[in-house]
């Protein structure tokens, strides 16, 4: 995969002096016959593997839960330096000056990977009103559906 090749090349030292998909911080979980292609980029290191595992069926295709997991974890060889076993983590190709897009996105001509800046949304979330904060806490506690049911019932009884 182009993303794996260029990621490992970018993070080589000196830059681009070697490449090796096994060192890539983005990996495509792929099983062409089963039509499974999941690009996953390396997240936090996990000291222990998680307890519960599940299989997911999406659009009739069976995915192992680990297919979506970004962790460098003891249960698999993904996102570890092949020689040392040290964990790898995606840094969005941090460099000076910064790149417009991480290399994996630049090299993916089929738009399977896109790079979006979402900072603005985060700012909006910060300015939540008191009522919203309260409601969110309630929703966390009781579940959104239940709260909506109550609101519906309340508004119905008011109208009545």
């Amino acid at each position: 995969m182009a993303c794996e090749v260029i990621c490992s090349a970018f993070h080589a030292s000196p830059k681009y002096s070697s490449n090796n998909p096994a060192r890539s911080r983005i990996r495509v979980i792929r099983d062409p016959i089963a039509d499974i292609y999941v690009p996953v980029y390396a997240g936090e290191y996990s000291v222990a593997e998680c307890a519960g595992r599940d299989k997911y069926t999406i659009d009739g295709k069976d995915y192992d839960e680990c297919a979506f997991c970004r962790a460098s974890c003891p249960s698999r060889d993904l996102f570890k330096e092949p020689d040392s076993g040290l964990p790898l983590k995606c840094d969005m190709c941090e460099s000076d000056p910064p790149l417009e897009k991480p290399m994996c996105v630049q090299w993916c001509l089929n738009d399977a990977l896109i790079y979006e800046v979402r900072e603005e949304e985060v700012e909006e979330e910060v300015k939540l009103e008191d009522l919203e904060i309260g409601l969110e806490a309630l929703a966390d506690k009781y579940g959104l559906t239940k709260i909506m049911d109550i609101i519906t019932r309340m508004s119905a009884s008011k109208k009545g």
């Binding site: 182009a2 080589a12 016959i33 089963a34 001509l109 089929n110």
Partner: protein
């Protein structure tokens, strides 16, 4: 340190079960690059002409091209070379996919197999750990099935597997080596693998590939990617849609099959159906394809999507690309649904999708003409489509008539006799060709059909348009951004080329121009085959991202070999000549260099003689097509002329080379 290449080959003696990791000579990389080039050198050095294809002394070489495993987009080809049971000449079939880069990451440039294993085995190459493992439980399994079983058995879903099916095991002369979406199909190399009793080679590698001048190399790769985007937005006007863009012909993506179904021949390359492509057929075939095609897919590190996963109700999913979409359909006068269904079985059996349908149509034609009898064809179903499944099953098992047909049309006809030879009519060098029968001689293709030693026209054509454009304005537009030409004169050749009149076939392009064009086209393929570059991004399409002007820099920056256009041209000529030398030593001569007799209706014997004479001289070959002492000396191939002199292939008086042409 070695760059781009690993500097190591795996030498495996199957008879003894020994495995060696052997360092290679970097000097040879400079001279022969890698892939096909260094394969040819190995075959020249180690497989004398007395060695039969199915002899333990024959080598079967799997090579990753020089730049495979580097970030160069689309560079993923495995070049498999051996002596072919079908042609008895050097076979070099190639496959894309994922296998070659994986081999590089495992730390090897080539796997060289010699000897013969006592029982069926498979090889497991995992970085430094290389094993010969028992494969008796995989006997008779399909090629894709085998790959899956091996991945499960090794608990290594990332292992890349190249495998043979039943056809290879039973030494069918057109057996392929399959690798999921790709296969090395021509020349019966799968039969040689089966003869060596190797069911599969599984590879997993997690090592580094080094780049000599990393920043320069990356900049070149980025230019290639940018140009691919430009070409995606600017398909070439005036050529058929499957050839307007980059990649292999886009058979999986494009539904319009008017050109293939109405210009190519049906059956045993016999009948042209000029009004075949009706709206009704288009609708039916489009539905078939849309329903069967799960996804368009790519090979390793390539943005093109030339292949597809095909899922038909009741059949396992498989992968397909290019013209195998139609070869079975057209050989059987059937429909696309049949073609996709039988291709699934054929892929598991591991057979060449060009030869196989034609061999089956040939068998049925012999039966219809009374040359094969009811006794020969005992059990033949009455349904047309079923007959093809029946024949396929028999061929790959070498049962009954299948045993004869498994040797291909040429050898089968020789053995059957009774006039069967006339039905093996679409061969060059004993190998079935594209089912095409045309009217006016095409002097460019004449030379390619005659002298091509890949024995496959699609693997030496490309670069130069197949036909002139209607108006001069269109031609002027075309040459405006034609940066790939090695010399400006090619633009003039094209600008003056007309559909009709004085400057048209067969006398234009002139003999000399034809030599230039054929040489350019062939050279680009040979370079690709040494580098491991897919022809779909280079030598095959018009205006490709890789060409003679950026290749030298890519090789210098990637592999750290000093390279310029002249050096690269000479290196390509060197190993191209070595391929010819191997074949000459095995008896190939001018008499073998001809197109299928009925390929064109309008033939011009005098012109054809002049074309071949001039081209031979242009290439530095004598009148028999044998490289001359002088030209061998120029290429640093004196060891070839010494051998030729010793064998009496050349004599000391062979001085007839003339460069005036």
């Amino acid at each position: 340190m070695r760059y781009a290449e690993t500097g190591f080959n795996l030498e495996i003696d199957l008879t003894r079960g020994s495995i060696e990791r052997v360092a290679t000579d970097p000097g040879e990389t400079g001279l022969y690059l890698g892939g096909l080039g260094t394969n040819a050198k190995l075959l020249w050095d180690r497989v004398p002409p007395e060695v039969e294809p199915f002899s333990p002394e024959n080598l079967l070489i799997f090579a990753a091209g020089l730049l495979c495993g580097t970030p160069a987009p689309g560079c993923n080809r495995t070049i498999v070379s051996t002596i072919s049971p079908q042609t008895r000449l050097m076979a070099f079939s190639m496959m894309g996919g994922f296998w070659a880069p994986e081999l590089k990451y495992a730390g090897y440039d080539k796997v060289i197999l010699r000897g013969k294993s006592p029982g069926l085995v498979y090889l497991w190459i995992h970085n430094d750990k290389v094993e010969i493992r028992d494969a008796s439980h995989l006997q008779g399994k399909g090629a894709n099935e085998t790959a899956e079983l091996i991945q499960q058995e090794l608990k290594e879903p990332k292992a890349q597997v190249a495998a043979i099916g039943l056809a290879g095991e039973n030494r069918v002369y057109f057996a392929s080596i399959e690798q999921g979406r790709s296969s090395a199909s021509r020349g019966g190399i799968g039969a040689v693998m089966g003869d060596k009793r190797v069911k599969a080679i599984a590879v997993r590698g997690t090592g580094d590939i080094n780049i000599a001048q990393s920043v320069e190399f990356l900049a070149l790769c980025n230019e290639v990617l940018n140009y691919i985007k430009v070409r995606a937005d600017n398909p070439i006007p005036g050529v058929m849609p499957i050839l307007a863009g980059l990649g292999s012909p886009q058979e999986m993506r494009i539904h319009d099959e008017k050109w293939h179904t109405e210009s190519f021949m049906w059956g045993n390359s016999r009948e042209r159906r000029k009004d075949f492509w009706t709206e009704e057929v288009e609708k039916e075939w489009m539905e078939t394809m849309e329903n069967a095609r799960t996804r368009l897919i790519s090979c390793y590190n390539c943005p093109m999507k030339c292949a597809a996963t095909i899922s038909l109700p009741g059949l396992p999913t498989y992968m397909m690309k290019c013209f195998s979409k139609l070869t079975y359909t057209m050989a059987a006068f059937s429909n696309l649904d049949f073609g996709l269904r039988i291709a699934q079985r054929a892929t598991e059996y591991g057979v060449d999708a060009f030869s196989t349908p034609q061999v089956m149509a040939f068998g049925l034609e012999l039966y219809e003409n009374g040359i094969l009898t009811d006794t020969d064809m005992k059990g033949l179903p009455s349904d047309n489509d079923e007959r093809f499944f029946w024949l396929l099953d028999r061929i790959v098992r070498r049962e009954g008539i299948g045993d004869l047909l498994a040797n291909g049309t040429y050898w089968a006809a020789q053995e059957i006799g009774k006039g069967a030879e006339a039905f093996a009519h679409n061969n060059i060098k004993k190998t079935e060709q594209m089912p095409l029968k045309l009217s006016m001689l095409n002097p460019i293709y004449f030379l390619m059909y005659c002298t091509g030693e890949k024995v496959n026209i699609t693997q030496i054509e490309g670069q130069f348009p197949q036909m002139p454009f209607e108006t001069r304005e269109e031609r002027e537009e075309f040459v405006k951004d034609w940066v790939q030409v090695p010399d400006e004169k090619f633009k003039d050749y094209f600008l003056d080329w007309e559909l009709r009149g004085e400057k048209s076939f067969p006398y234009y392009p002139t003999v000399q121009m034809c030599c230039d064009i054929v040489d350019w086209q062939e050279k680009m393929h040979y370079i690709d085959d040494a580098l491991g570059m897919c022809a779909g991004l280079s030598s095959f399409p018009l205006k490709p991202p890789y060409h003679i002007h950026n290749y030298p820099d890519l090789i210098s920056a990637g592999a750290g070999i000093e390279m310029d256009e002249a050096r690269l041209t000479k290196a390509a000529k060197r190993y191209r000549t070595l391929v010819r030398a191997i074949n000459i030593r095995r008896g190939m001569r001018r008499k073998d260099e001809k197109p299928p007799e009925n390929h064109w209706k309008k033939r011009f014997p005098e012109l054809e003689k002049e074309l071949l004479d001039t081209y031979y001289t242009f290439k530095g070959w004598n009148n028999e097509g044998i490289p001359t002492k002088e030209s061998l000396h120029d290429l640093g191939l004196d060891y070839v002329s010494d051998d030729f002199l010793q064998r009496g292939i050349l004599t000391d008086s062979d001085k007839e080379v003339s460069h005036e042409g």
